[in-house]
Point group: D3
């Protein structure tokens, strides 16, 4: 039996999974610079790896991750000036979400979970889901009422204070706020745990923008962007932090998906 | 001399102000339920009132506030089920911002500040500004290079820990997170300070949703939404908190606008 | 009891008004130059003031006026070259109207009236309403059938010949046609009656474009635009004309709204 | 030499005409009911026939007329309920105009005239032209600066009072206003003069809606629409009126095009 | 009785035809260079002429042909560099199709056939039809279920090998593939048969691009485009080929329309 | 050194590759049923695998493949009724292409190749590229003129007759035309060669729709779609055919990319 990657499944296999009540668990991320030590795929690879772990517990089907996200912004991802950062305009992403979510519903999935890992996608995924709903695309084709759609827009909203402390206790400046936590402790740790083959350990180094204003400015002044693309302390990342964080997130998401969408156990 | 409200100014007056280096300071908010004790205009009235205070110090022109914002979401504003909540689709708001910002630039303003007070507008204002820039609409008509645009997307990003403590020290559950801080301590306090005539004090009461998940679910379960529309503790609001907070915000924004856009002092 | 301004009402108050059969009476205008003697808000302030007078007779709720309208055109508003004129592209306005009208219907209003005061909005308001209808957004949430929407696109279509004569009898060139009647007799008179605080009387002066062709030309030749932004005779405006005209319009609109939408009397 | 119809010309012939300074004269109309006696093509056939007459005097090239226009409205064209009325949404028409005008400029025409004959297209043609201009599509490919675009939005704006009197002197109710002058005296007369083969004379009859309000209402009440689709007095139409009117319009348009765009005489 | 051209019919005539079960047979083409010997209208004139022949056998109504199609591409139509080629962007054409097809259904036609003659329109017509269906615009107004829509995207898909041999047997290079068969044997022959008045016989000449790659390149290299706009052998065209081909196509389309949509015989 | 997959590279690595003249080689496909024996990813996996082989010879960077393509159509891919088929609307795909191609150019790539493997994407990729060009997004950021974009829309256009004969010589019905060659000889052979782990050999079986009309019909009659999703003879597929075909395509594409874009050899 192939799965849980939809791209490796045939249509009768997807059909059977959807009929069995599997959740379509779709990762949405970005292709965005993450410093000299992390690949451009961090924002779509992390949710994909987490999804694969969730798939060991719950019956889910994983559609092809959305590798392109909304415009990278200077204060939270370095912005558009880094080669390799490849973004969509907001309207494009909204339409992608509207279409894909609607098509998953048309394919027979009775519940869908969207797992986001890119701050610049906030509000756009919700919009895409709402547009699909308004168009009638989230009604079950079997007449069984609305398809349920779960949106996990910011995973870190699920973190407790204790967990935050563990993550940032040895950081010289403490928790820098989520926007600046880019290519830094959390993401580097997670990549060390989930895809160590893609981390250039020898290139891990701290960096930060000269200033971190609470506002954006266009055109972007150079002092608002760190030259390396690392926006805070990457050097305090560790495999241990990554493993614990990954386990924690998988637990939380598994519990939340079970609670909200009630899928069968993994086959 | 009329001003700083653009709606009360004539075109030669706007022309003179723009030539003098005034900043166009535009409020973007929402028309959204804020419980039984606050009016629907909280999200566009607060930034407007703050702008009027800033106008006492800096030379700014205040275009008509954008009263309609992006879709209210259940976990941060109660969502679309409350009568009176009147929202725009995301694409609509993006285009409004693109057009208005571009027109202010065409009108001769060399710097523009966008002051947002609605979480659901996050990322959309940035998109609108970028679309205007890409279309060439943010080039100064006098050939003087790009118009500078400042986006204040989340004012509370400017708050220090001490200030947060002051605000939430007497709240039974402490700081509930910004999404849930809707029609609660911060906004009620500010309205008590800025527009007390619009606060129904006798109706101030705490409320909260039965559950506060870290994810959204469509269709929205009733337990995700507080029946009154108040998502946390409104009863701990006070005029004193509001005054201190308003003063603090006005100070911060005045300093930030001066730093980033360098307008003349108020005429 | 607050009202009729929706921005000053709470959601339970709006809910009660909608249930009681109140009409949502929405002004749509523009932010457009009106010469050196009138403010940029003429096109959204006049319908708002008229609405407030109607609200003394009929039970209406007044949502935040739409201050930005479609592109000002040279022959009817001076066009885009005047600082302060701040317009939306046509598609933007259409979507704003589609969304707002649909949201008012979703909020429980069983009837909506759209009051326009900007010639360049013609056909766009109708399009927005039709798009909302096509999307199913104008069905009553209580299943009671379609929400009724009244569009008052050109108020002056309601004027009789006698009334036109009164307005223009002492004008040297007579009635110049509605497009050229911009910042001239009608609008200056109405502002003198409705918002005299915003009229710079000492700056009232006649003007007109060197030529008034029956066609538009792009790029706009300078002789098609009056330098002051006044397109005809403003000097023949008077408080008396304004009062009579305002009274007449309020009477006509009150009668028409009653006839078409049958709201209760003002509470 | 073929011409002036672009559809009958080859590309080298169009090239030669554009280089010689010919004006691209494009008709935009509608496919809309015009009662039982006139064909659905009235609104695109009349401007086409007028263009052919202009082409005897001025060097013009006539691109394929735009047969589909914006939504027919009940008070000015009977609305969407008549079989055969085939309309575009506003946004569609705007984009058609943007593209076609831009392409004519790209093809080498240094001046373009758009001749409209459908009230519901008002403002949309202007928007399409402006969008083309903003996109840079109205710059001459030879670097010679902006292409000139003339928009004749309402031909009847060119009529004098004397001419109006001639047209409507024997009408029982006089001039009913342009919106109601649909399939009535003016259009029937013009068709009798320009395309008598398409007029069903035996079916010419007066009609009118039971009421003619100054506002639109959705859903449209039946009494707002004349059952036949004729909105005023068609029986007072005559070949003589049509001939005189056609001659007058051709004279006016020829003079205006000459004045504004200065094309060579017809080849 | 007027017909089958909808532009010559009145609304009651269209109504009667639709009620009688007539098919709306709509031609979609392009305005695109076809060398020095053929007019720009080839792509919308050929399907129109074929439709008129079909109308002698089946009861069809022919709406105004869509004269503007999607962007001409260098390898299949010479591309945008030829004066007179007047194209729409893809999104524009999709919306035109969505609107027109939906309006024909609203007008009472129970079946619609779309006849395309422009390779660059491929997939866009299908999209337009699907968008109309998704919007609910292809439901019969009488509640009789879905309107049937037939899309004839590439007529030559109906040709047999024998027919291909007849067409290209005397061509020096044989069948060059359909994209290159532009303004060449097939189209020139058909025009010689259908509209010989529009063929400049003395200008018929072979041409071809210097290279015919299997890929497109932007910017287009000059060697990818034939200078004359003729992409293959036009000189082997003949009236006989055109007559036979036209007869064959009309037979095939008549049979296919009968089979799929079952209209009455021509009245 | 990581590569050629952009998702595994860091931003400095992409920067270096782009500066060295590497081509961005982007696969665009679909997620579409391919019968019971092939996975849903065939249309994006095949071009990705081919790209990886090309990367052994030429210096290319491979951005994340576009896994979602335009609507599957019944006659060429089975259409939307198969679970797992997950399509985008045409406008969505066009915008994705516009954005991604523009971003690759902004990232410093001086040449881009788009490799398509989904018939329903035809014309849409070209549109996306043109929109990026029109918006100025295909100008090199270093001022070096236009970025070159190669579009390989239909790879099989590069096949010779001899190669077609080899592929289809033992097929009972011969070559069925490319639309019907879905999940059949060509694609099954290629998957057997490129990704044998994903082919369910025991489920390979021939199928075909009961009829194969040359036109589309909406709603789709069941006899137009093969129940299994295989539209022709899959059983004649073989590893040998797949290997030969893959080698041939890689040779052709390598040669074509070299010729058109002239990248360095693989590093």
């Amino acid at each position: 039996m192939h799965g849980p990657l939809m791209s490796e499944m045939t249509w009768p296999e997807v059909d059977a999974a959807a009929r069995a009540g599997a959740v379509a668990l779709w990762s949405v991320g970005a292709t965005e610079q993450h410093g000299p030590h992390l690949p451009l795929s961090v924002d779509h690879l992390i949710p994909l790896e987490l999804s694969l772990r969730i798939a060991r517990r719950l019956h889910v089907v994983i559609p092809p991750p959305q590798a392109f996200g909304n415009r990278s912004r200077p204060l939270s991802g370095g912005g558009p000036s880094f080669p390799g950062t490849t973004s969509l305009r907001a309207g494009t992403l909204v339409q992608v979400v509207r279409d894909v979510v609607g098509q998953l519903a048309a394919g027979g999935f009775r519940s869908i979970a969207v797992l986001n890992w890119h701050g610049e996608n906030v509000n756009l995924l919700h919009e895409g889901i709402e547009l699909a709903r308004e168009a009638g695309d989230l009604e079950r084709p079997d007449g069984g009422g609305p398809v349920r759609v779960m949106l996990i827009e910011r995973v870190f909203n699920a973190f407790s204070e204790a967990e935050m402390a563990f993550l940032f206790e040895d950081a010289r400046e403490g928790f820098p706020g989520w926007p600046a936590e880019h290519a830094a402790i959390m993401e580097t740790s997670l990549m060390l745990a989930l895809r160590p083959d893609l981390v250039r350990r020898e290139l891990i180094a701290d960096d930060r923008a000269a200033v971190r204003p609470f506002y954006d400015l266009t055109p972007t002044p150079p002092e608002h962007v760190a030259a390396s693309g690392v926006l805070a302390e990457a050097s305090r990342a560790s495999v241990a932090k990554g493993e614990r964080l990954a386990a924690l997130i998988v637990d939380r998401l598994t519990a939340a998906i079970s609670e909200a969408l009630d899928p069968p156990a993994a086959p």
